[in-house]
């Protein structure tokens, strides 16, 4: 190191002696030597003449250049949750900063050595900026890619779907790694649909922009529809309850009693034969000479029942949604 120092000064001196115009190049090695070796600087200062001035200028400029001479080399293919390092050039102490998604750290480092970044510091995918400061600061940016997918966010709608509807069930799957980073590289997601009394169906969809989705028809039978989204060894399950659709047709019967007429429906079913859920409202309408009487009755255990007042001949009908029932003539002489 010291021999190198002497060589530099000798070179400059010989240039001066030959009375040629000195050609000063700001080579990093010269700059480093001038800065790191105060003795050199001192000896240069003690010399007289233009060369001394020139050398001093070089050394002083070098002090500035040297601070900026630190070079940082960012990790080329950093992956979330995997340790990495940043290579540095130069020497001496410096302050290191790492600013990224979810992190901002500051610590002392030695230049010329690698700066180790821990797995925890790099667990979030995104853009990081590494900054090294001595008298001035240098920085380098780099990206951390997501790790392999181990989680699957799976949104399925609706929670209850009427049977026999087209494209009524939909699902969106979003793969992420163990640190909840979105995995944006195309990945195949398998959607499997299983319902009682029906053959399982499956769809394979590749993620696009980190998202895979599907939509499908509901089945013909009421009951649970299990939907599973799988990616590698990870799977997430959701259940959609398939329920009967609107009543398809109504059949009513009735008889006269002491209060008037009691009417009830046959078991109310949708068009695919599923009993409609309890609470479905059936409207009974009675028409006689005095006018019209209307009663709303909820379905209980598949049947809707109503007591209607009247004594004379009456015509009773029933409706639920868009379905109409048969007309019933009671009290006729």
């Amino acid at each position: 190191m010291s021999s190198s120092t002497n060589t530099v000064c000798t070179t400059r001196k010989s240039e001066h002696k030959s009375e040629e115009r000195p050609r000063i190049r700001l080579r990093p090695c010269v700059v480093r030597l001038c800065v790191l070796r105060p003795c050199l600087l001192r000896s240069c200062l003690l010399r007289r003449g233009a060369l001394a001035l020139l050398l001093c200028s070089v050394c002083l400029a070098g002090a500035r250049v040297y601070a900026q001479d630190t070079d940082l080399r960012a990790p080329s293919a950093a992956v979330a949750g995997t340790p990495a390092s940043i290579a540095t050039t130069g020497g001496g102490a410096a302050t290191f900063y790492l600013v990224g998604p979810s992190i901002a750290v500051k610590r002392d480092v030695k230049l010329g050595q690698e700066i180790d970044l821990t797995a925890k510091e790099l667990q979030n995918s995104g853009k990081y900026i590494a900054i090294v400061c001595t008298s001035s600061c240098r920085s380098v940016g780099f990206f951390v890619a997501p790790a392999k997918p181990v989680n699957l966010a799976f949104l399925v709608h609706p929670s209850r779907a009427p049977v026999g509807e087209s494209n009524v069930v939909s699902g969106v799957a979003i793969p992420s790694d163990e640190f909840h980073n979105l995995v944006l590289t195309p990945t195949a997601v398998d959607f499997q649909l299983t319902a009682a009394g029906a053959a399982p169906a499956s769809h394979r969809v590749s993620t696009q922009n980190g998202v895979a989705w599907f939509h499908t028809n509901s089945g013909r039978s009421a009951g649970a529809l299990a939907i599973t989204a799988s990616i590698n060894d990870v799977s997430t399950r959701r259940v959609v309850q398939q329920v009967a659709s609107d009543p398809c047709r109504l059949q009513i019967k009735g008889q006269q009693n002491a209060k008037g007429f009691v009417v009830e429906t046959e078991p109310v079913r949708d068009c695919t034969g599923n009993p409609v859920p309890d609470g479905t409202v059936v409207t009974f309408t009675a028409k006689d000479a005095q006018g019209t009487d209307t009663v709303d009755a909820p379905v209980k255990k598949g049947i809707a029942r109503a007591q209607m007042v009247g004594s004379g001949p009456v015509t009773i009908s029933a409706a639920s949604g868009v379905a109409m029932g048969n007309e019933l003539h009671l009290g006729a002489q």
Partner: protein, 187 residues
Amino acid sequence: MMRTNTGKKILRKTLSGSLPKVIAIATAAIALLAPQYSVGADSTPRVVLNTSKAGPRSMESQTETVILRDYKFAWTSLEQALESNSTAPLSGLFAGTANTWLTNSVTSQRSSGLSSRYLNQNHKVEAVFYAPEGDMIELHDTADYDLQIFDGGKTIHDEHVVVRYVVLMTPGADRWVIRQLQAVPQF
């Protein structure tokens, strides 16, 4: 009368002599101070949202307006949070992973004595996925801004950057919230 006229002439002469100097000083002052104050003037992010490629569900115009409003407000709040090292501005605008990440950023900045500013923000946002049930939207944001990082009062990084973000938003009670805000090298 003569006196008055003379006075006016003198005044006019004096003004005509000093006016160029006054204008020059004022111009110089504006030129010197303008860059400092222009920061405040450009503190509101400029956001342009394109929903023409959103699918499979097409976006209703009212939804588009609300998403634009909430996304812009989220970035304003993000900037405030990271500049002031306070998590309060983030409240209610970010959820899930995005909220965790930003909260951690603020707390780690605070503990390290750092702060950062996102100035002169421009966001070109494109909706690339809108879920069939309208319960999730994915945006691609090409943002450019001046990123400044400070250690105490010392600027340690000042750079104009272009950053691409993949953003997931979901509807909340009265607004759309950001659930994921992940920078990527390219879309």
